[in-house]
């Protein structure tokens, strides 16, 4: 086998895998425009399913819940996680190791275990009378669960950045008359901001996407993934196809925009570096 044929074979193979990854999604999107409820025969073009999707009370309210839940839990998790990262960073090596290992538990444990273990905790709390007559399950349990699985991602995103920071910058700020608090807010925090922001975004996506852990801790409330699940259990409805199409477009837009911003800031950085270097050269 010469190099060329193997290259062609390789390309064909990768294209086949990409087809495998995308065909199911493509079929769903195509059938979201199907007039009849059939999932196999295309009878005619319609936008009715989108119309009924946007009038579907269950979907809209679960979407609202998911968005609010994601936002609140991500904000709390980001604050909690960032503070924790700074605190952990100044501890002894051994305590760091222990805390990091425990923080890894929700990351590596199967999601179903995280879900049921939290559920058991809340069930137990209820038997002690916490939560009153209505019970605990619902908004508080969902919020606690989401914060719990989000915080470790914040810690593991921010702590490498914190360790990379040059401590002499902080010391310089102190030498120049900053109080420790000022030095932290004016010098350290701005350098951590990109890592904190990306951790926040990761939390948002995990929170919106989570099904397993929410499923066990939602009580009667429905987040968007739980609503999707109950839709797939009931009778066939092409609204799911329409929902998939909408979600796919939203995700694609977010990725393209963030990519565009990334590449723009990359270019900006490059020009800044080049400018700085030429100035440096001029001075020399």
């Amino acid at each position: 086998m010469n190099k060329r044929t193997s290259k062609i074979l390789m390309r064909t193979y990768v294209i086949l895998i990409f087809c495998f990854l995308y065909l199911p999604i493509a079929v769903m999107i195509a059938f979201s425009f199907n007039e009849s409820k059939s999932r196999a025969v295309f009878t005619g073009f319609t936008l009715d399913w989108y119309k009924s999707l946007f009038h579907n009370e269950m979907i809209l309210s679960s979407l609202a819940l998911s968005l609010v839940l994601a936002l609140v839990s991500s904000v709390v998790a980001t604050v909690l996680g960032t503070l924790a990262t700074i605190g952990i960073n100044s501890m002894s090596r051994n305590s760091q190791l222990i805390i990091n290992n425990i923080s890894y538990v929700p990351v590596v444990n199967p999601e179903i275990i995280t879900g049921v273990s939290l559920m058991l905790l809340f069930v137990m709390a209820q038997t002690f009378g916490i939560g009153g007559e209505g019970g605990l399950f619902g908004w508080p349990t969902l919020l606690i669960a989401h914060i719990t699985f989000n915080v470790p991602y914040v810690i593991f995103n921010v702590s490498p950045k914190l360790r990379q920071l040059d401590p002499s910058i902080y010391n310089a700020a102190l030498d120049l008359g900053c109080t420790p608090r000022q030095a932290f807010i004016k010098v350290i925090l701005p350098q951590l901001t990109p890592a904190i922001l990306s951790a926040f975004l990761i939390c948002l996506t995990y929170s919106i996407d989570d099904f397993m852990i929410s499923y066990f801790n939602s009580g009667t409330m429905q987040t968007l993934p739980i609503a999707i699940y109950s839709m797939t259990r009931k009778k066939v409805s092409p609204e799911i196809n329409a929902l998939s199409a909408v979600m796919f477009c939203v995700i694609l837009t977010i990725i393209l925009v963030s990519n565009y911003l990334d590449s723009r800031s990359y270019k900006k950085n490059q020009t800044a570096i080049r400018k700085a270097m030429s100035e440096e050269g001029g001075r020399a």
Partner: protein
């Protein structure tokens, strides 16, 4: 403040949170697994699991099948991606990751409609006079669902490990008389070791603990561990103690799997050094 003792207190709220919502819940799982519903100590929950051996074996086999399939399918893709130019790599990675961002319920639902008795695939096969094949509600459909959902989790770590392999290493092997098979077994696979280990855990752990994929694609006859646990906690056979015992066993399985892959990971690393 960066390294001072007073800043340790900043971790305080998280430590309380971690203790209350990570450590305590796991202790409660163990407590429930070892007690009756009245709170008396018992090992009956654990011994009862013996009745479900077939389900546990099925879960392990199907998850192992899915993991091996993912590894075989993903290996060439990871290699291909790692040999592209940097800017192309970026785009291709996006293409691999994009389906992962779709909610996995929707992705699994897509296969549900494709595999149906009068679904698109059977219609297509019908054009050639084949079928209709019985594809949905089989163990094959469950494995397919696992492979489809978790393939990117295998491609990404393989790709990351392979980007560190220099082209010249492969060329040197060729110059020294290796054929394609030997390059694969003596150079590529050992150097990709850590990536393979990560990929295996990232595919095996969610596969062995899923209950959605088996429920949507496997019908009622392909129960997995995840289904059993879900039935004990939210389903008809409500029994928190038995469910906890099952969760405990699942955790042990996952721990064993991870210690297996991490030992593999380390020995490979030593080989490289």
């Amino acid at each position: 403040m960066l390294k001072s003792k007073s800043s340790r207190w900043l971790a305080g709220p998280y430590l309380v949170w971690m203790a209350a919502f990570i450590v305590v819940p796991l202790i409660i799982v163990i407590y429930y697994a070892l007690t009756t519903s009245d709170g008396a100590f018992t090992l009956a929950n654990l011994t009862q699991i013996g009745r479900y051996t077939s389900v546990f074996v099925r879960s392990l086999i199907l998850a192992a099948e899915a993991t091996v399939l993912c590894l075989v399918l993903a290996f060439p893709v990871g290699y291909f991606l790692s040999r592209l130019r940097a800017n192309k790599q970026h785009i291709m990675l996006m293409i691999v990751m994009l389906p992962m961002w779709m909610n996995f319920l929707l992705r699994t639902y897509a296969w549900m409609t494709l595999l149906e008795k009068n679904g698109l695939i059977n219609r297509f096969l019908g054009l050639f006079g084949i079928g209709p094949l019985n594809m949905i509600n089989t163990s094959g459909a469950v494995v397919l669902g696992m492979v489809y959902n978790y393939l990117p989790y295998m491609i990404l770590p393989l790709y990351t490990a392979m980007t560190k392999i220099d082209d010249s290493v492969i060329e040197a092997a060729q110059d020294l008389g290796c054929n394609v098979f030997h390059i694969l077994t003596k150079v590529l696979i050992p150097l990709t070791g850590p990536g393979i280990a990560t990929g295996i855990t990232q595919v095996f752990v969610p596969s062995v603990s899923t209950f959605i994929i088996s429920r949507m694609l496997g019908g009622g006859s392909n129960l997995l561990i995840g289904d059993l646990i879900e039935l004990q906690f939210l389903g008809n056979s409500y029994n928190l103690n038995l469910g906890s015992a099952m969760s405990l066993v699942l955790m042990v399985i996952v721990l064993l799997c991870m210690s297996f892959t991490s030992s593999f990971d380390e020995s490979e690393m030593e080989g490289v050094m």
